[in-house]
Symmetry: D2
Subunit: 131 residues, 4 copies
Amino acid sequence: MSHSATIRVRFYELDPYEHVNHSVYIQYFEAARAQWLTEIGFSLAKLKADGIQIVVTEIRTRYLGSAGPSDVLTVESELVDVRRASMTFHQRIKRNDETLVEQTISAATVTTAGRPTRIPIELVEALQGPG
Amino acid sequence: MSHSATIRVRFYELDPYEHVNHSVYIQYFEAARAQWLTEIGFSLAKLKADGIQIVVTEIRTRYLGSAGPSDVLTVESELVDVRRASMTFHQRIKRNDETLVEQTISAATVTTAGRPTRIPIELVEALQGPG
Amino acid sequence: MSHSATIRVRFYELDPYEHVNHSVYIQYFEAARAQWLTEIGFSLAKLKADGIQIVVTEIRTRYLGSAGPSDVLTVESELVDVRRASMTFHQRIKRNDETLVEQTISAATVTTAGRPTRIPIELVEALQGPG
Amino acid sequence: MSHSATIRVRFYELDPYEHVNHSVYIQYFEAARAQWLTEIGFSLAKLKADGIQIVVTEIRTRYLGSAGPSDVLTVESELVDVRRASMTFHQRIKRNDETLVEQTISAATVTTAGRPTRIPIELVEALQGPG
């Protein structure tokens, strides 16, 4: 299953080069993942209430192009690997058909005390579901 | 004339109180004004290319409620005063019918060298237009 | 009593006008207040653990100048009014002797459930203390 | 040669997990690189005035720990590879002796029109200099 989100570039996200600062795409990727989780009934707030936090352990991000003022972007997200207490997503930010940024991100599920904890099976099923 | 924009709260915009940090609404307000200007053909990029910058000179912002995870908000903007080289907007951020934040903001038009310059009459007409 | 904090402008905080975006000063002001509270033993984390949140209710901010790349700024903060469950601060951001931004900010103390609650007397004394 | 910068965590950079959001470390890393460049006389503003932009092409970031309220962090940066029109840095964010985040980042030098351009030899020498 994969997810698609729409993001509109905001003026303050541009830096003096007049394109979106590279750190902002990391925020777009997170926003898209959080939106996906919310849409399938596992918002970060709900998970937190259940005592589970999803913490990012590694990102690998390649910048192929750059977004500018008023661009409307699509963030595509896909779950590519699931372990007992970690997941890996592949994500892409596109402007129309052009991929601007792509990212592989790994995250772990931990308790609020920071200890690894099993990913809820229902969450895995929802992320892998028929979409 | 007035303008309405839609903003979806992003996870990283929440602070440890689990609501949107008060500085973020200032960003939402700016994003909505910039979107309005773009939609009427006066994007900040175009204005800058014409040698004009719109700089904020004063904001007065009242916080009446707070937004949380996954909220979808509406930003309403209205031009309430125009002078030779300055404008004042009134803006409101709402969740459904509830006003969470309201702001009066004044901005000046300056040259790229920072000197006051007359607001283009076409811009004023577009902001005051029939909508 | 008053407090002084030092802030160094970061590149991503600049917008295409090559100066610090106006929303960022709101973040600088908050950072300075939070640093002050931490230094006098009332960090926002400690207050939260005690069941108290400080929420901003109104800001009035005037922009007199602008900061650019690599500027090192001073944020001066002063408590100017205290009520039962609210406080008002006056703050200034300066580059050397030039005031770039000044702000009056009111905040309320509320419980984690959002109900008004009395400001701890020790906090008021610390903010008003001899410095 | 390597560079060390100090960063103080700001309240709004914390997310509902009460630690610094993972995107913020990317901003810290950039701030540290920009500070380094400024200190050796090659600020991003100066480079831009010379027609050169440094654009990030890839980051690989590992999160080993997390920073919380009021933490004061050290960002260590080191140039590990230089090509004709690209550079690679290794960076680390530490709290005392504990490494919280480490990053390998590649950046390219391009003209303001976005075409690859040779890194100024003086810049390379300054980055590799005796410190």
